[in-house]
């Protein structure tokens, strides 16, 4: 049989396999979201309350029903995607299109501070704070999308380990840049983002510092 006879069929089979693989992998699923501790955060709880109101059910019942449905769906998905995973991993054709699933109404701002050797124990100098042009140490690094995508997650409970590693690394960079400092601390300014009415009326929105990590030189 000449190649021109069978090759179009083989090619069509391979293209079909690719199409099925990316369709199955891309199909909407709560990947990365099956962690009950994440579901208990204020942001997610507010979403549950909003949807529970729409469907006239109690938020707790709505959350439990969603958890059961999502768990069952993810079990089925695990089976469905298994045949395609080696191909997807090898070719790099993953389909993670879960972009801006929800608006984080309590997004936290990272701040990095340094303590000069010999200064008062609570005298901290701000090196960097997100969206603050007055404190822009190594701003090109911080605003790079790859680091920004990590920082966006560091304040979440399940990313504590990543945050610790990140803060340690940033502290090492600060110690290298500034021989006059002996301590570095990372923390998040956490709180609800202001609504349009609050911004226009100038109403203060309560925010607090949280998730504080401190590193000494040589630690």
């Amino acid at each position: 049989m000449p190649v021109s006879r069978w090759w179009p069929h083989v090619r069509a089979a391979l293209v079909t396999f690719h199409l099925v693989a990316i369709s199955v992998i891309a199909f909407p699923a709560p990947i990365g979201g099956m962690d009950r501790s994440l579901w208990k955060t204020a942001v997610v709880q507010k979403e549950f309350q909003s949807w529970a109101r729409v469907f006239h059910v109690a938020p707790e019942a709505f959350e439990d029903m969603l958890w059961s449905a999502a768990s069952a769906f993810m079990q089925a998905r695990t089976l469905a995607v298994r045949p395609f995973l080696p191909y997807v991993a090898f070719a790099g054709v993953d389909q993670p299109w879960r972009m801006f699933v929800g608006a984080d109404r309590a997004a936290a701002r990272l701040q990095l501070q340094a303590h000069r050797t010999g200064a008062a124990p609570d005298a901290w100098e701000t090196l960097f704070e997100q969206l603050d042009p007055a404190h822009a140490w190594r701003s090109e690094l911080f605003t790079h999308e790859r680091l920004a995508s990590q920082i966006a997650r560091w304040d979440w409970p399940s990313y504590g380990g990543e945050y610790a590693l990140g803060c340690d690394h940033l502290a090492r960079l600060a110690f290298a840049d500034r021989p006059d400092i002996d301590r570095v601390r990372c923390r998040f300014h956490r709180g609800r983002l202001p609504s349009p009415d609050e911004v226009l009326s100038g109403a203060a929105v309560e925010r607090q510092w949280a998730n504080v990590r401190e590193r000494g030189r040589g630690q």
Binding site: R11, V15, P28, W97, M99, R105, A107, E145, L200
Partner: protein, 337 residues
């Protein structure tokens, strides 16, 4: 069996590879620029170098890289340099298939070593160049083509299989409808289901916005609500784009819906639904790129957009541009009259 035969025939189409060539150029430039930025901002030393060698965290280096010493600073620099050079060669169409392979290998290795440092732009670029590798996209608008023409001036017009372009179109449709379907926050839904304030709050997220947009954002809250609704509709209508391609492909057939998709506005009978959809998407992605730092996502999407424009349309655009350039070039006085 008849369906399979039609499917095989559909995937056996061949066409001018101009659209794939533009996709190749955008992908190559986007990856080269991204790697350059990683080096320039020192983000590579933090996010791609293993913690044992001064990076932030342990890396998941593939076996072949581990055998060469792992994610050391010099290995990462080398991968970025080779990947960047190959990406530029890809854009120029020099040794195209080999260049795409090296670009894919280097870029995919780098981004998979630390999956938490990156985003959808990386995945979309890798998906794009993986398809382009099989495509024959270097057969036109490339240095490879110039060399071929120099060797044999009577070389026939270039042709390439059309299925890689179809795959890129399907990839774009998949990105849109799945991201739309996963926007489940009530902030994306209009009242009474939701509040339509997703963009208002997204444009305040300190990790993603380029600068503090308040208090201006509060003044245009209604505009952000309209933009939220249109973004949500645009993404959830991703499958409609696939339908628009089908209606365009079968435009000779009858039907009012088909006629509408092929000319939604009677005043512009040559502009079909696909072009309106892509124009809206272009403005949307440009707006996101201006206001937010989302990496090379704009370029990654444009790789797929290039494939959505038919080769004949690309040739018409090139012809128009050439004519405009010729008209704009002053004619020397000795040649006048």
């Amino acid at each position: 069996m008849k369906l399979w035969s039609r499917w095989v025939a559909f995937l056996s189409h061949r066409e001018d590879p101009a659209a794939l060539a533009f996709a190749r150029m955008v992908a190559g430039i986007a990856i080269a620029w991204d790697l350059l930025q990683m080096q320039r901002t020192a983000a590579a030393a933090m996010l791609w170098v293993d913690s044992a060698h001064g990076g932030m965290r342990p890396m998941y280096a593939p076996d072949w890289l581990v055998a060469l010493g792992g994610a050391t600073p010099s290995n990462v620099k080398l991968l970025m340099a080779i990947g960047g050079a190959a990406a530029l060669m890809t854009a120029a169409g020099l040794m195209t298939r080999a260049s795409i392979f090296v670009t894919w290998l280097c870029f995919n290795t780098l981004i998979t070593m630390n999956r938490s440092a990156g985003g959808s732009a990386d995945d979309l670029l890798v998906n794009g160049i993986f398809i382009l590798f099989w495509s024959g996209c270097g057969r036109t608008l490339s240095i490879d083509r110039l060399i071929e023409r120099r060797k044999s001036p009577a070389a026939p017009p270039p042709e390439a299989p059309a299925w890689p372009r179809y795959l890129l179109i399907y990839q774009l449709v998949t990105v849109y409808w799945t991201t739309g379907a996963q926007k489940v926050s009530n902030g994306w839904f209009p009242p009474p289901l939701g509040t339509l304030d997703a963009l208002y709050y997204s444009l305040q997220m300190p990790s993603w916005v380029r600068f503090d947009l308040q208090p201006g954002l509060a003044h245009i809250f209604r505009v952000t609500q309209a933009a939220t609704l249109f973004t949500w509709l645009f993404e959830n209508c991703g499958l409609v784009l696939l339908l628009a391609f089908w209606f365009r492909y079968t435009r000779e057939r009858p039907g009012r819906v088909r006629a509408f998709f092929n000319a939604p506005l009677k005043r512009f009978p040559r502009i079909d639904f696909r072009l309106y959809y892509l124009a809206f998407g272009f403005v949307l992605h440009l707006g996101i790129g201006v206001l937010m730092e989302v990496g090379p996502f704009f370029s990654a999407v444009m790789v797929c957009y290039c494939a959505c424009i038919a080769p004949a349309e690309w040739r018409a655009a090139i012809g128009w541009l050439r004519r405009r350039l010729a008209e704009a070039t002053p004619v020397p006085s000795a040649h006048r009259g």
